[in-house]
């Protein structure tokens, strides 16, 4: 890995191969100082890195996380575990499995049945060291069973078949044997997980447990990735026919990926069930699947660290920041500012756009206020200094809903126009677009967080696809042309 800062043309001995490799490598890294940090990190081995990140995560509660933040962190860790497991199936073996959450549900329901009063007069209350391994083995068998008929399906067909499996699981838990599975009321009163004879009953405890299990899983998968099994998975992803011609039993290798993914998901499910003390069918429906996939793609499919990091980012944004109007306000305005600073060049253009945006906001606010007091009667949704800064800049009328809806339609039109027009017109259109976007944000989007966070994740993924298609920590991939 010779990474000198010389331009590739400088060395006379640089051949075409070497040049292409260097170019590819350059593109793998984040720009400027971020890339320097990334290279420095790569020089350290993988397990010290993992350990440091794990210790940092373990130290996080010492900063004094509130109850809400701790719950967000736990949810994020659960999704991160799922993304790391899904990475085996999707990122390595290249199988588009849309029924993955069913294995998570299987783990949760399996643990719930084995550790509650649900079955029999007194219930089964197996100790953790028995119930969790039983559930994991069961998940591996289920993974093989699901993989068996679908092992010859590829691409779209596999995706649809597994999606049916995922939906079937939700229907199953909803409707079959309500006296055992509880139907829509789920199973409640699940025993906590106990480790070395100590029961974990607090959210803090489950946070530490999840961090430990996530770090351990990532380590195990890293060891697996660099073994013959990991190579076989990736070979099957790259070219199944070539893999078969190179002594790799493609179907068996695919089944193994299914089974390993299922085991990780089921393990996550057991912790999830114990932490929630209850399980319901809706906990394992499509929204979770979308979040896991969003995390995996954002972080970079094929990279263990990427899967975990992506899922954490998605969940902290989705579940944490976008729930409170003030936090989501920081995120919204912060992202706009960041995008402008990163994308707008030269600096003169950036300064003009920023100045124009600020001026336009105050001007329209003043004009609207002069015409009618009702037009600026509402205030921004956020609180604190952000609200103070925005009070005289963004227009929030008294009847925000109707105007906001029209503003939304207009905003979509403006955004489409913005993408189509030439660079000069884009500069001119940008300030009104940003003002309108803020208007729509304060009148509609910030008021409806349940919808906005879905849109926000979609928008982040679109931006990511354009800026860094390989994901945060993924490595660039080429598609084979056959």
């Amino acid at each position: 890995m010779s990474l000198d800062s010389q331009p590739p043309a400088a060395g006379p001995q640089v051949g075409a191969d070497e040049w292409v490799a260097r170019q590819a490598q350059r593109r793998e890294y984040l720009p400027s100082w971020l890339g320097t940090g990334q290279r420095w990190l790569e020089r350290v081995g993988w397990w010290p890195r993992l350990l440091v990140v794990g210790l940092a995560a373990a130290a996080l509660p010492l900063l004094g996380l509130g109850g809400f933040q701790l719950q967000v962190a736990i949810d994020a860790l659960v999704i991160a575990m799922l993304a790391v497991g899904l990475n085996i199936v999707v990122g390595w073996a290249g199988l588009l499995d849309l029924g993955y959450v069913a294995f998570f549900g299987f783990g949760a329901y399996g643990f719930a049945l084995l550790s509650s009063s649900q079955i029999g007069p007194n219930g089964i209350h197996l100790p953790t060291y028995l119930s969790v391994p039983i559930v994991m083995v069961g998940a591996a068998i289920l993974g093989l069973l699901v993989g068996w008929p679908s092992r010859r399906l590829i691409g779209d067909y596999l995706a649809i078949v597994t999606l049916f499996f995922g939906e079937a699981f939700v229907e199953f838990t909803n409707n079959v044997a309500p006296s055992v599975l509880g139907g829509p009321n789920g199973i409640v009163g699940i025993d906590p997980i106990s480790i070395f004879g100590r029961q974990i009953t607090t959210n803090g405890g489950y946070y530490y447990l999840l961090v430990a299990v996530l770090v351990l899983t990532m380590g195990v998968l890293r060891l697996l990735d660099t073994s013959r099994t990991g190579r076989a998975w990736r070979a099957v992803r790259e070219d199944p026919l070539a893999a078969a011609s190179m002594t790799i039993p493609v179907n068996r290798v695919k089944l193994m990926a299914f089974a390993f993914g299922a085991v990780v998901a089921a393990l996550t499910g057991t912790i999830f069930a114990a932490q929630q003390i209850s399980v319901f069918p809706t906990d394992f429906d499509t929204p979770i699947l979308i979040l896991v996939y969003a995390g995996l793609i954002l972080g970079g499919a094929g990279s263990i660290a990427g899967a975990a990091a992506g899922a954490l980012v998605v969940m902290v944004i989705y579940d944490g920041l976008l729930r409170s109007p003030t936090d989501s306000g920081y995120l919204f305005y912060g992202l706009i500012l960041l995008t402008l600073v990163v994308k707008l060049r030269p600096w003169r253009r950036l300064a003009v756009v920023l100045a124009a945006t600020v001026a336009l906001g105050f001007a329209t606010h003043a004009i609207a206020g002069a015409i009618s007091a009702r037009a600026v009667a509402g205030g921004p949704q956020s609180t604190g200094w952000l609200a103070a800064a925005l009070r005289d800049w963004v227009i929030v009328p008294a009847d925000a809903k109707v105007l906001g809806n029209w503003g939304y339609v207009l905003l979509v039109c403006l955004l489409i126009a913005l993408v189509q027009v030439s660079s000069r017109w884009r500069t001119i259109l940008l300030p009104p677009t940003i003002c309108l976007a803020s208007f729509v944000w304060e009148t509609r989007l910030a008021v409806e967080p349940a919808i906005t966070r879905q849109l926000m994740i979609g928008a982040i993924l679109i931006v990511m696809m354009n800026a860094r298609p390989q994901g945060l920590l993924g490595s660039r991939r080429v598609e084979a042309i056959t």
Binding site: M1, S2, G15, A16, D17, V20, A21, A24, V220, L223, L224, S227, R228, T229, G230, R231, A232, R234, A235, E238, D239, L241, A242, A243, A244, S245, M246, T247, I248, P249, V250, M256, F260, G302, S475, R477, V478, A480, T482
Partner: protein, 278 residues
């Protein structure tokens, strides 16, 4: 490699590694191969030539189990191959390269080679996770084998390239890496599908020498499809010409190249007509 079990099947008198007997293959009404007899002896280099669409790659696909023959028999070292899946045929000792390169592009160069040892290693996933002795030993051996094979290609696949992704290689090097990957399956028979396609004259010469070296130093039998007559004449012990799935000539290079049926297959019925038209 010499520790391979002897050819147990008995079969024909000549010690042939590969033996196709009256092999036919039809796709619907299209007869891709008909009544093809072909054999490759131990450590022999046989070339297959013929115009495009003659069925040369189809022969490879039948041998490696991608297609199932409509009738006829394929035997490798005396054992029948019909009905075996590709990965098992590969493990029995037949390795191939692809005309339209099929590398594992997003894996590193050395991983491409190491991946091909899957069938000859045994460590289970948990052994790899716990790094138990067998997994460690196999991993060491596999890496040594891969390095040994890549060194066989000299400067072309030199050490600094090992950890680069395969997609960063040039076209000619991708062809070399395909051969390296095939060698990692420890084959007794190597099927090369147009190894010199897209190469310049110097690289073509190099490939010709490489094919001969593969036989001499690695002891493999080689069946090679090639359009470049320099390669065919430079390395083959025997040449087979195919047209429309039928063997039209077999023998030494000069014999086959001058055979009227071969000339007709390449040039059309009346070669004189071409010069007249010009």
């Amino acid at each position: 490699m010499s520790a391979e079990p002897g050819h147990g099947g008995g079969g024909p008198a000549a010690p042939s590694v590969l033996h196709l007997d009256r092999l036919s293959l039809s796709f619907g009404g299209l007869r891709a191969l008909s009544e093809l007899d072909l054999h490759v002896g131990d450590e022999e280099i046989v070339s297959m030539i013929g115009p495009n669409g003659a069925g040369k790659t189809t022969v490879f696909n039948v041998i490696t189990g991608v297609y199932r023959p409509s009738s006829g028999d394929v035997r490798f070292a005396g054992r029948p191959l019909a009905g075996q899946p590709p990965h098992r045929i590969a493990r029995m000792g037949i390795a191939r390269t692809f005309q339209s390169l099929r590398l594992f592009l997003n894996m590193s160069v050395i991983e491409n080679v190491m991946a091909a040892t899957y069938g000859n290693t045994r460590a289970m996933p948990w052994e790899s996770i716990l790094r138990l002795p067998r997994a460690r030993r196999e991993e060491r051996d596999v890496r040594a084998l891969a390095e040994d094979i890549l060194s066989f290609f000299g400067q072309r696949l030199a050490g600094y390239r090992w950890d680069q992704p395969a997609y960063s290689l040039s076209y000619a090097n991708r062809r070399r890496l395909e051969i390296a990957r095939a060698l990692a399956t420890r084959p007794r028979l190597l099927l090369l599908d147009e190894p010199a396609a897209g190469m310049n004259p110097a690289e073509t010469h190099e490939i010709t020498e490489l094919i001969a070296r593969l036989r001499d130093e690695r002891g493999v039998a080689i069946l090679v499809i090639e359009h470049d007559m320099h390669v065919v004449s430079g390395c083959s012990d025997r040449v087979i010409a195919l047209d429309h799935g039928v063997k039209i000539a077999e023998g030494g290079f000069d014999e086959v190249a001058g055979h009227p049926a071969v000339v007709e297959a390449y040039m059309g019925r009346d070669p004189g007509a071409l010069s007249d038209a010009g």
